[in-house]
């Protein structure tokens, strides 16, 4: 497990789920820790419900490319099981997957077109040779009372597992620095709820 100073993270989800803030928070934590960081976001048409992927690279040494090659990621954060599967090629063997359990169905255009099974995706994640943590994002969001905290809950889970290279305290600081004041408390609660659910 690559820890601390050198961590490559793929954040995969569906446009609108809040992946951009997640990578921003990791970048903020890295900067606060005096580390180098490069990220790359999907911004544009795909933000309207398409597949979005962020690459986040944290290192003590200079980083060349913001994008990773296959097999380079230590951690894959899936906001949705199918999108986690789509990005599996980035994850190195023995890496960690933290994924939300609930699938987001693609738009149905006919009654049969949306045959998409979340459990089949989770099964595939389970059998891919990585350490897997499945998070009940819906339950955490319900507990906190907002759908917008899925991103922070997943980060909390990854941090709780020690897969992010940053402590929960470091993330608390990053959240205070990056999130509008009235949303800080909500996000801090989501962070810890995520961490608890990963260790449960």
């Amino acid at each position: 497990m690559s820890m601390g100073a050198n961590t490559n993270i793929i954040i995969a989800g569906v446009g609108g789920q809040g992946t951009v803030l997640a990578s921003k928070l990791v970048a903020r934590a890295a900067m606060d820790a005096g580390l180098r960081v490069r990220t790359s976001e999907t911004i544009g048409m795909a933000q309207r419900g398409g597949s979005v992927v962020s690459h986040v690279r944290v290192s003590e040494a200079p980083i060349a490319s913001p994008l990773m090659a296959p097999g380079m990621a230590d951690l894959l954060i899936g906001f949705e099981p199918g999108e986690a599967v789509r990005s599996l090629a980035f994850l190195r063997p023995g890496g960690t997957i933290v994924t939300n359990a609930q699938p987001v169905a693609p738009v149905a255009v006919s009654p049969t077109s949306a045959a998409y099974s979340g459990p089949a995706m989770l099964e595939r994640l389970d059998g891919c040779g990585a350490r897997l943590a499945v998070i009940d994002g819906a339950a955490i969001c319900a507990e906190i009372g907002s759908l917008k905290v899925l991103n922070v809950a997943l980060l909390g889970a990854a941090a709780g597992l020690g897969a992010l290279g940053f402590s929960l305290d470091q993330f608390e600081t990053a959240i205070r620095e990056s999130v509008r004041e009235r949303f800080v408390d909500m996000n801090l609660r989501a962070l810890h709820a995520g961490a608890r659910s990963a260790s449960a």
């Binding site: 569906v14 446009g15 609108g16 990578s23 921003k24 970048a27 180098r36 960081v37 490069r38 990220t39 790359s40 976001e41 999907t42 911004i43 544009g44 048409m45 795909a46 309207r48 419900g49 398409g50 060349a64 490319s65 913001p66 994008l67 990773m68 090659a69 296959p70 097999g71 380079m72 894959l76 199918g82 999108e83 599967v85 789509r86 599996l88 090629a89 980035f90 994850l91 190195r92 063997p93 890496g95 169905a105 693609p106 738009v107 149905a108 255009v109 006919s110 009654p111 949306a114 998409y116 099974s117 995706m121 099964e123 595939r124 059998g127 891919c128 040779g129 009372g145 759908l147 917008k148």
Partner: protein
């Protein structure tokens, strides 16, 4: 973000006037300037890129440092003033940031602004990272002023939307424009153009020489093989070489940060003594062509490989992976693909195809549906345009038959009508696109008596690029409240006789309005303005549930394509988290099975 770095770099360089039109991946530059405006900078979203460039040109004539921002296809719109401005020149430094989009990820073309630099005879800067973009923008302003020429600055998507820590300097530098001084040089005439052309060729030689010593053009290494690269591809090359490790033979590397005018002296120093060169770049083979030309001109016994030889892909975005393979092919190395987690148990279970779609509650869906239902038995062609509503092409709506470029829905419909007058020709255009380049097309239809049906999808924002204001919204980037320009009044002023506004989310009324607009084409161009705000600027409505006992037909899925409606265990279901409460499905359901839930409290 790279775009923020460009904005801050421009502020640090003392920019006084910033204009532009939104377009992915350039859209965040101008709002960042507005947000960090020390108070002395005029920032505006202009109606289109041509307008933006011309406003900036005037300011630069008067000595202000000016920044213009757009995406690559925006430069096509601005190309008329651009070509001439190269001849007339500027006094205050002018940097035109044109963001290219290899892939393309969010664009109509994979055109290369470096090639536009060659065509327009303007210097081009090509940054490789956010940090470099921040530093380079100041160099670009200085060069622009030194030679009195506009300068192109072209980051690509991975630089624009890449993030890295950037050390930001003093942002309070005051601009000191000394004002407009009348001079015949500001008036372009054939004789002046001839003289300017001579001067341009001369200054390009000087700049090329200066660029050979430019700090971000880098030559390193030794050996008889070479690798030449640019922009983000140079980062991919660095990672690829690291991955190939010890098997890499001794080699020379050239990174070209100023592709035009080409740093000839530096490139010759690179080529001298080489047997083979691989050029790794995105979009056009700009560096490759220049190296081939130099090799030919100087009779150098060197083979230049790249896109032309098939070593590097001709279209699409490069990646660390694609560059690793290209380098391995070039060097005759075998690469073992890195082990990853994509193989393994359950490999046959593939994630679903997930194209972008109109949001749940998007009023465009309602507008398309009203027209579709009204035209069910008529021969009609649906012309689309650039914006979120291009996504109306997806099934089940399937309401975009053509899409070419900004404003072309209005004009392509006219050409179609001339050849096929028996069909009804619709032109769907968004509010921002209407102001951008839609209006001349409407004038053309009125003037030439071509009876199209113009459908303006007015959602009170520029949605696709991130909710920027426009002339119809009554907000500016200076924070001032401006007069709203009313689209209906504009259309009437242009001579459109039938102009009707309605709410597309009132389905039956909207359908009736469509039929009236079609009927009115007997008298000429008719216009229907569908007014309903984008869900990203409107508040959420009530919740809806499907009454399973009444639900019988699946029409909500087969007609609407709403992300909030899906079938779970053979039953239709509305996902309350996604539903915006637009009520369209409830109106469409023939069995009244979709019921409104009176809210107990507002949704998150």
């Amino acid at each position: 973000m790279g775009n923020e770095a460009i904005a801050l770099g421009a502020i640090a360089a003392g920019v006084g006037v910033v204009t532009g039109y939104p377009g992915t991946p350039s859209s965040e530059i101008l709002p960042t300037v507005a947000q960090r405006n020390p108070g002395r900078i005029h920032v505006e979203w202009s109606t289109n890129e041509k307008v933006a460039l011309e406003v900036a040109a005037g300011a630069a004539y008067a000595g202000a440092r000016t920044l213009v921002t757009m995406k690559q296809v925006g430069l096509n719109v601005a190309s008329d003033p651009l070509m001439s401005l190269a001849y007339v020149g500027v006094k205050g430094g002018m940097v035109i940031v044109v963001a290219d989009d290899p892939g393309p990820i969010s664009s109509q073309t994979e055109q290369d602004t470096r090639t536009f630099g060659l065509f327009s005879k303007l210097p081009v800067f090509d940054p490789a990272s956010p940090e470099e973009a921040y530093a380079m923008i100041g160099d670009a302003f200085a060069l622009s002023e030194r030679y009195g020429t506009p300068v192109l600055f072209r980051p690509t998507t991975r630089v624009c939307h890449g993030n890295a820590p950037v050390e930001v300097g003093d942002l309070s530098a005051p601009p000191a424009p000394d004002g407009f001084v009348k001079d015949p040089k500001w008036v372009i005439f054939p004789r002046l153009a001839y003289q300017s052309h001579l001067r341009i060729e001369q200054r390009l030689q000087q700049i090329a020489d200066e660029f050979s010593d430019y700090r971000f053009n880098a030559l390193s290494g030794s050996g008889r093989i070479g690798i030449a690269t640019q922009g983000i591809s140079s980062a991919y090359v660095a990672d690829a070489l690291a991955a190939l490790g010890d098997s890499i033979p001794e080699h020379r590397r050239l990174r070209v940060a100023t592709p035009h005018p080409f740093p000839r002296r530096l490139a010759l120093a690179f080529l001298e003594g080489l047997d083979q060169v691989l050029v790794v770049e995105e979009l056009d083979p700009v560096i490759e062509r220049e190296l081939l030309r130099l090799a030919g001109e100087c009779h150098l016994p060197v083979t230049v490989l790249g896109k032309g030889s098939g070593h590097v892909q001709q279209a699409g975005e490069n990646s660390v992976d694609s560059v690793t393979r290209a380098l391995a092919g070039f060097l005759g190395l075998e690469v073992e693909p890195a082990a990853d987690c994509s193989a393994g148990a359950g490999e046959s279970a593939e994630p679903p195809v997930r194209p972008p779609v109109l949001c749940a509650g998007c009023p465009h869906r309602a507008s398309f549906l009203a027209v579709k239902e009204a035209m069910r038995k008529r021969k009609a062609v649906f012309g689309g345009d650039i914006g979120c509503y291009t996504l109306g092409n997806a099934k089940p709506l399937d309401m975009v038959d053509t899409c070419l470029c900004m404003g072309a829905s209005v004009t392509v419909a006219q050409g179609l009508h001339v050849v096929e007058p028996e069909a009804v020709h619709f032109a769907f255009i968004g509010d921002s696109t209407f102001f951008h380049t839609g209006i001349p097309g409407v004038i053309n239809a009125v003037y030439n008596q071509t009876p199209i049906v113009l459908v303006v999808l007015d959602n009170s924002t520029t949605a696709m690029t991130g909710l920027q204001p426009h002339p119809g919204t009554g907000e500016t980037m200076m924070g001032a409240v401006a007069q709203q320009i009313d689209i209906a009044t504009v259309l009437r002023g242009l001579g459109v006789r039938h102009v009707e506004s309605c709410d597309p989310l009132q389905h039956d009324a909207a359908k009736a309005a469509v039929l009236r607009a079609v009927e009115a084409t007997a008298e000429g161009v008719s216009a229907l303005i569908f007014e309903a705000p984008c869900i990203h600027v409107a508040s959420t409505g009530p919740s809806y549930v499907i009454n399973e006992d009444a639900c019988k037909c699946q029409l909500c899925i087969t007609r609407l394509g709403c992300p909030a409606i899906s079938q779970v265990d053979a039953k239709m279901r509305i996902d309350d988290d996604l539903c915006y409460g637009c009520d369209l499905c409830a109106q469409m359901c023939p069995f009244d099975a979709i019921e409104r839930v009176e809210p107990t409290e507002g949704k998150a």
